[in-house]
């Protein structure tokens, strides 16, 4: 295996484009190293992105939006008070990935590119309306986060393309987000179901909302019917019930070692209600 440490994303894309065999990018490495160790993936070329300037930075733009480097680990997100204040749901999603030790390494970009339908950080990003900057052999482009997953273990990135930054929109006023997942233990498991809710209030009424569901379909995706169920409401009992029903209706899960179809579906509704309540109270500044 060849180990590369390019100093620009362009070089990284060139290396990946030129490589003939199995290629993997290394950011946090918490998925890639596990796959290598298990013999599931035996890369011919491993491209370590952590030497590229800026990949460890969290920067707020003039418009209030955020640019998060692709090697920023979960622990660093959690330690960034201003980012946590703006996007607590995004940060708590990332902070649920693995242990304290994994938090020292695992990244948003890695969690996204691993392509898992159960990735804990992705629903929060999708609900937040985050985008990614993609560098490829033909330059850079950007895309909404929800366009990256292509089914279990797959992404829509073309050969030689890689994510070069995660971009969060400006939070704005009276907004709040939250992410909840269900796992059998209190820590260390992969989500059996997950839900992120991002909303903006006008007075007590929800003016805008985005809801994303995880681990209940082949891809993490927006659930527009969930958003519709709560927009224009004050998140009263009827709205919560409608949200619960919409979340269940949006599920197309599988039975596997982590959960059943019936369980995932029912719990997705529960999580949607609970996450919406948290997002709502955050939006009210409570």
């Amino acid at each position: 295996m060849n180990y590369h440490t390019p100093s620009t994303f362009e070089d990284a894309a060139r290396l990946a484009g030129a490589a003939g065999g199995v290629t993997r990018f290394l950011a946090g490495g918490t998925d890639v190293l596990v796959q290598m160790r298990a013999g599931m993936v035996l890369p011919d070329d491993l491209i370590d992105l952590k030497k590229i300037p800026g990949v460890h930075d969290i920067v707020q733009g003039a418009d209030g939006g955020w640019r998060i480097g692709i090697a920023v680990p979960g622990a660093a997100l959690g330690a960034h008070a201003a980012l946590v204040a703006d996007w607590p749901g995004v940060v708590e999603g990332m902070e649920l990935v693995g242990s304290t030790q994994v938090q020292g390494r695992a990244t948003l970009a890695g969690n996204l590119c691993n392509g898992s339908p159960a990735a804990d950080s992705v629903p929060g990003l999708v609900a937040a309306g985050a985008t990614v900057e993609i560098t490829g052999p033909d330059g850079t482009r950007s895309a909404p986060v929800e366009e990256i997953p292509a089914g279990p273990g797959k992404t829509t990135l073309a050969p030689g393309e890689l994510i070069s930054a995660i971009l969060l929109p400006p939070r704005g006023k009276a907004g709040g987000d939250a992410y909840l997942r269900f796992i059998p233990r209190t820590e260390m498991d992969i989500a059996v179901a997950g839900c992120a809710v991002n909303l903006r209030l006008e007075g007590d009424t929800i003016a805008e909302a985005r809801v994303a569901l995880g681990a209940v379909a082949p891809r993490i995706a927006l659930a527009p019917d969930c958003a519709a169920a709560i927009i224009g409401t004050t998140l009263d009992e009827a709205a919560l019930a409608a949200l619960d029903a919409a979340a269940r209706a949006a599920c197309s899960p599988i039975d596997d070692k982590r959960g059943t179809v019936a369980f995932r579906t029912e719990v997705a509704g529960v999580l949607a209600r609970r996450a919406a309540a948290i997002a709502y109270s955050r939006a009210k500044g409570e």
């Binding site: 060849n2 946090g28 918490t30 304290t100 390494r105």
Partner: protein, 160 residues
């Protein structure tokens, strides 16, 4: 398959080794540097027995490549005591009988030290969640949690 020369600092000492780029930092510590205090319990980041700090950040050394240690600061269980002076956590683990087989102990001590450096006065719940990635199969965690809380109390008193 060519090996890569790595220069790094482990427990304050500059060391060099030749690493196959596929080898984890844990492999390199154990097999190239003879530092076998860090253990491999799973190789997947699920058990924490290989916990070390890398530039002060707590990580699983099985999830770091050896070649990534180039120019970094690594701290392992072997550097926790100062000569014969045990770290308060080490002493409290002995006093509280917080170990049975002792295999998870190095990783838990390294992780707990990282916690107390960040949070000198943790609650029981904070200790439990911080250590959730350190599996112990012998103790049921009870005496481990008590030892960490007691060490924290002692360290706060010393600092005061």
């Amino acid at each position: 398959m060519s090996k890569i020369h790595v220069t790094t600092t482990v427990n304050g000492d500059e060391v060099e080794f030749l690493a196959d780029p596929r080898e984890s930092l844990l492999d390199c510590l154990r097999d190239h540097l003879g530092l076998t205090g860090s253990k491999e319990g799973c190789g997947t980041g699920d058990c924490g027995a290989c916990s070390v700090t890398l530039d002060g950040t707590l990580v699983c050394s099985c999830l770091v490549l050896g070649v990534e240690a180039e120019g970094r600061q690594v701290a392992t269980i072997e550097g926790m005591a100062e000569g014969n002076e045990l770290h308060p956590l080490q002493r409290k683990f002995l006093e509280h009988a917080a170990l049975q087989c002792g295999f998870c102990t190095p990783g838990i001590l390294v992780a707990a030290k990282a916690l107390l450096e960040k949070t000198p006065d943790p609650t029981e719940t904070e200790v439990r969640y911080w250590l959730a990635g350190n599996l112990c199969r012998c103790t049921g965690y009870d005496k481990i949690i008590r030892a960490v809380l007691d060490a924290a109390a002692e360290m706060r008193q010393e600092a005061a």
